[in-house]
Symmetry: D2
Subunit: 339 residues, 4 copies
Amino acid sequence: MIIQLEHQISEDEKKSLLRELDKLVKGGTEVSTQFGNYIVAIGRSGFDIRSIGNLQGVKDIHRVSDPYKLVSKKWKLDESTIKIGNNCSIGPDSFTIMAGPCSIESEEQIKSTVQHLVANKIPVMRGGVYKPRSSPYSFRGLGMDGLKVFYRHCREQGIKIITEVMMVEQIEEMYDYVDIFQVGARNSQNFNLLDALGGVDKPVLLKRGISGTIPELLQSAEYIFSNGNENIILCERGIRTFEKSYRNTLDINAIAVLKDRSHLPVISDPSHGIGVRKYVDKVAMASVMAGADGVILEVHEKPEKAFSDGQQTLDYLQAEKLYSKLMKLYKLREDLDQL
Amino acid sequence: MIIQLEHQISEDEKKSLLRELDKLVKGGTEVSTQFGNYIVAIGRSGFDIRSIGNLQGVKDIHRVSDPYKLVSKKWKLDESTIKIGNNCSIGPDSFTIMAGPCSIESEEQIKSTVQHLVANKIPVMRGGVYKPRSSPYSFRGLGMDGLKVFYRHCREQGIKIITEVMMVEQIEEMYDYVDIFQVGARNSQNFNLLDALGGVDKPVLLKRGISGTIPELLQSAEYIFSNGNENIILCERGIRTFEKSYRNTLDINAIAVLKDRSHLPVISDPSHGIGVRKYVDKVAMASVMAGADGVILEVHEKPEKAFSDGQQTLDYLQAEKLYSKLMKLYKLREDLDQL
Amino acid sequence: MIIQLEHQISEDEKKSLLRELDKLVKGGTEVSTQFGNYIVAIGRSGFDIRSIGNLQGVKDIHRVSDPYKLVSKKWKLDESTIKIGNNCSIGPDSFTIMAGPCSIESEEQIKSTVQHLVANKIPVMRGGVYKPRSSPYSFRGLGMDGLKVFYRHCREQGIKIITEVMMVEQIEEMYDYVDIFQVGARNSQNFNLLDALGGVDKPVLLKRGISGTIPELLQSAEYIFSNGNENIILCERGIRTFEKSYRNTLDINAIAVLKDRSHLPVISDPSHGIGVRKYVDKVAMASVMAGADGVILEVHEKPEKAFSDGQQTLDYLQAEKLYSKLMKLYKLREDLDQL
Amino acid sequence: MIIQLEHQISEDEKKSLLRELDKLVKGGTEVSTQFGNYIVAIGRSGFDIRSIGNLQGVKDIHRVSDPYKLVSKKWKLDESTIKIGNNCSIGPDSFTIMAGPCSIESEEQIKSTVQHLVANKIPVMRGGVYKPRSSPYSFRGLGMDGLKVFYRHCREQGIKIITEVMMVEQIEEMYDYVDIFQVGARNSQNFNLLDALGGVDKPVLLKRGISGTIPELLQSAEYIFSNGNENIILCERGIRTFEKSYRNTLDINAIAVLKDRSHLPVISDPSHGIGVRKYVDKVAMASVMAGADGVILEVHEKPEKAFSDGQQTLDYLQAEKLYSKLMKLYKLREDLDQL
C-alpha cells in the first residue's frame, strides 16, 4: 500500500496518520523524493483503505500487490518523463537516442564523437570512464581525468553525458560532470550503490542484471526511488543464455513487460544486447516496436581500433543510417498506436 | 564442401567424379531433392576445389565451413522461396501471416476461424489435431477426424493448412490433408521424424527446440534437406529462460541471425514466444523488424474457452488490428531496406 | 486422485464404481499395468474420498496433488524395485552400475567390453545402435545388425543390455534383444514413443530432457506408466546452462528431489552429465551421495578411438578404479542412513 | 606469463628485468602480496621464457594460458592453505565446516549458536550483519552493532567469524571484528570491492555469481590476488536455472572443475545451493565427493522463526547429524584418494 501525502501536510496530521496506520499495518517506510512524500506500507490487507484515504493530509492511496511499489504502474498509471537538463527528456512523446563509444579513450575521440552527434542531432553521448572488466589486467578506463575532458567538449555543444558509476565513493566526484548516472549490469543488485544514487538529484539509468529477472530489476529501481530519486530509466541489455551465436540475448519481451508493469521509461541497449555489429540495427528496430522509449548505441569512428567492445560497435556511417531508420520507425509506431 | 551436379550428368561422369573425390576427401553423401542433386563432402580442406569444379557434370561447388551445409547461406546466397500450393509462397518479397487456434476443437470453430481468415485475407490456417501435452491426462487433439473436417472447410475457401505432425507413422495418413507439416519444439531433434519429412514433397515448418541453439536448429533443417526436401521454413518460438514473467522468451536475436546464416525463410511465433496475450502484438511487431518473413498467431473466437493455450490467444478483433499493423510495418521495412 | 482396484473386482462392481465416480469428478482414466489396475481422476476435490474408498472392489485410494500421479510418492510411499531379468534389479537395497561404450562399433569392441564387465561383475552393458546425432552426416549407429551381435555376446555371459530406442517402429524389432529400453534426452517429450513404451513389458530408462524440468520428467514417466508399464527408471544426465567449461551441467539437486517426489529409481549419467573424462569420477561419487540408485558410465577400451563421445569416456583402468570407489561409497551411504 | 621475484631482489636487478621484459611483451603488472612479488605479463608468446628465467632475481617463471593467472593451477601446482587465525586453516588435509544463521538477529541467538558450535567443534560461525535483499523494504541486518556482539561472543569461545561485506567503506570498520570477509553472489563482479579486499590481510571467501561462469569467478579472485591478498577461498553457491523445484541449482561440476583449475580452496554452500531444507544434507554430502574443502551451512535454533532464509536452514539436531556424516564421508574420501 502506498500513501501519497499532501505537500502541505502538517506535523500533527502526519502523526495522526501514522498512528492510524499503525493500527492497520505493521510498519510503514517514509519516502521523500524530489517530487513527493509517500508512506510505503507492507502487511495486512483485510481492511478498507478509504479509512486512511479520508484522513487529512492524504493526497492519494493505492494498494500495490507487486513486490516493487513506487515504481509500479499499479501506483502511477501515467508514464513518467525524466528530464535531462533543460531541453532533453526521456519518456512518452519522444524517442531518445544515446550514442558513443564503449570507453572514453582520448580527447581526439571525444571531439570526433561529439561532432558526429551534433551533426545527427543526437542529444546524449555515452562513454565509460570507469569500466567494469572481467580481468584486472584489462584497460579499466581513464577515470576522472577522462570525464572532465568528456564533459568540457559535450557542454560546449550542448550534448548531455551518460556514464557508468561503479561505487559509492565515485558519485560525489562525478556529480558535476554527469547528466545521467549509469548503473551497469554487474551492479544491478549493488544495493549500497542504489541507495546512494537515491540521494542524488540526477537521473539514473539502471541496467538489468546479466541474469536478472523483471521483478529484480524493478525492485532495484525501487531502492533508488525509495531513497529519494524518482528520475530512473530502466535499461534492457541482454541476458545470458546458452546460445553461443551471440554475446548476450537481447530480451525483447522484457521491454514490453517493463513498459506494462512500471511507469518508468525503458531504454534498449542493442549493442550489448546481441553483441555483434551486423545485427545491431535489426535488434534496435525490434526494440522500438516492443515499446522502448529510446536506445543506447555503441558508436566509434573506427570500431576495429576501439579499446573495448569493438565487435559490437557501429561506425559513423552505419550509425547515421540507423538513427534515421529508428526515427522513421518510431513515427510509424506512434501512428499505429492510434489504430 | 558441397558439389551441385548438372541435372543431365551421365552415370560415367558421376563415377569419375566420385573417384576423383575419393582421393581428396573421406566420404561424400549424395543428396537428391525436388530441385537438385548434390554431393556433401566433409573432411580435408587443403586442396584446390577447382580441381573438382572443372570436372564434367559439376554445376557448382563451394566450401561451407558451417556444421550445417545445404541450408547455409555460404552455399546458397539467394533467399529461398517456399511455395505453398499455387498462389501462396513464403520468402522474400512477401510477409506471410498464419493464424488459427492452438487446437482444432469442433466444426463450428473451424468454420468460424475460416470465415475470419477469409475476411482478413490470411492465407494459412494453423490448428493442431495431434497435440503434444506434458500430461498424459490432458486433451491430446481430435486426430485424423478433426483434420479431415479442417481440410474440407479450408479447401472450400482456398485457405492452406499448417498442422503439427508428431511421429513418422502419421505422415502418410496426414499427407493428403496438409499443406505445411509443422514440427514442434519438442520434436526439433526427433531425427527419425526429420528424416521421414525429408522424403515428403510438401513444405515443413521446423520449430526451434525449447532450449535449442541456432546451429542445432539449422542442423535439424539439414536432416530434412539432405533427405530430399528443400521446402523448409524455420520458426523461432521462444526459448526457456529463468524469467517467470512470461511463459517463454521469444528470441528476437535468433530471427536476425537465422536470416543471416541460412537462405531459408524464418517465421516468428509470438504467441508461444511470450505466451501472454497482451504482449503478443508488440513481440509480433518486433519480429517483423528483426527480419521475420512472417508470423504464426494463435487466434480463437473466444480465447477464454479454448481447449489449450487460451492465455496467449488473440480474439478476432485483436487479431484483425494486429494483421493490419503488421502489414503496414512490413511495408515500412521494405522501404527502410532501400536506405 | 488415484483409485487402485482389487484384482478380482467384478464387472458389476466396476460399473457401479464408475457411476459413483461420475457424480464426483469429471472423467477418470482407467490404467492397467503389469502389476495393477487403477483409475486416475482429475477434478473437483471438495468431497470425502472415503465415500469411494468404501465401495466394493476398491483396494486403495489417495489424493495426489502433483501434476504427475501414478509415479508420485504421494501415491506409493515405498520405493519401487525394477527387475531386470532374473537376478538383477534396480532400486532400494542395491547400487547398480551400467557401463559400456557410447556406440556399438564392432564385434571386437563388444567382446572386449563384455570381458571387462564380467571381470568387474558389472551386470548391465550400455551401447547405442541407434544414435541421435545433431548432424545428419555423423555416424548414426550400426542398427539391428549391431544389436544382434551385442545381444549374442551379452547373453552368453549373462550381461543385461540397455540401448536407446528412437522411434515407435523400432520397439518391436528391438524387443527380443533388449533388457532395458533407453529413451534419450532429445526424446524425453516424444510422447508417442512414451505411449508405445507403455505397452511394453520391459523396463524403460527415461532421461531428463536437455532443459527439462523435474515435473516434466515425471509427467513423461507418467505417460509410460499410464499406458501400462510400471517398470520405469529415471535418469539425470545434465542440463544445458551457460557454463562452457563443461559439456552439460549434471544436476545433483535433481537426483535428491526425484528420489523424494517419486517412488521410481534414479540413475545418474555422469559421463554425459559433465562430459569431461577427468571429472567423471567426482561427479559419479557425488551422485551416490545425492541418493542415486546407480550410475550409467561410458567406458571404452581406447576412448581416444571411440566413434563418439570419446572425450567423456573412461578407459578400463579408470573405470575399474571408479567401480570400486562407488561400491565403497555406497556402503558408507547405507551406514550413514542408519544414523 | 608470471614471473615470481626473489624476496631479496635488488632495485637494479628489477630494473634490468623490466627492461628485458619490455623487449618481449607489452606491459607487465607488478603484484606484491603477503607472500610474494610477481610480474604478470600478457602478450606475445613466441619466445623462450628461459631468457627471462635465467636473469638475476627471478625465482620462478611460467606461461599461464588461462585468462586468470596467479590463481591458476598452471602457475602454482600445490593447493593453497588459507590460515584463519592460529589454529584453523582451510585447504588440503582438512575439511572445514562453517555454520550459523543467515542473519545475526539478537544476542540470544548468537549465544545459542556459539554454544551449539562449541559443542560440535565447528570452528567458524557464519552470520550476516549486512544483508543484500532484493527489496528495500526487507530486513537489511543489524550492522556494526550486531557485528560487535557477534565478535565478543565468538572470541570468548575461540570461534572464528565469517560475514558478508557489501561495500568498500565497510571494510575498515568491519576489519577488527571479522576473520573471513565474505563477498556475496551479487557482488561477485563488484570489481572495486574486490580491489579493496586485495589490500586487506585477512582471508576473503568469494562466492560465484548468480549466473557466473568458472572463468569469471577465477578472474574475480585474480582481482583480489593481484591487489595483494593471496588468502582467497572460492565458494560455489548454486546458479540460476529454469528449474523451479529448488531455489538455485547447486553446481557440483563447478566444485570439481575449480579444484582442478585453481590452487585455491573451494567451499560449497548447500543451503543456498538448493535452498530447500530437506535436501541440504544430500547436496552437502555430494559436495564432499566432488572435492570441496568444506561447507558453509545455515543453522538456526528455530529455523521457522529466522528473519531470513528459514526454508533452507537446519535446526541444531539436523545440523549435528550432518556434521557427523560429513566428517565420516571426508574420511572415506581421503581413503579413496589413496586407491
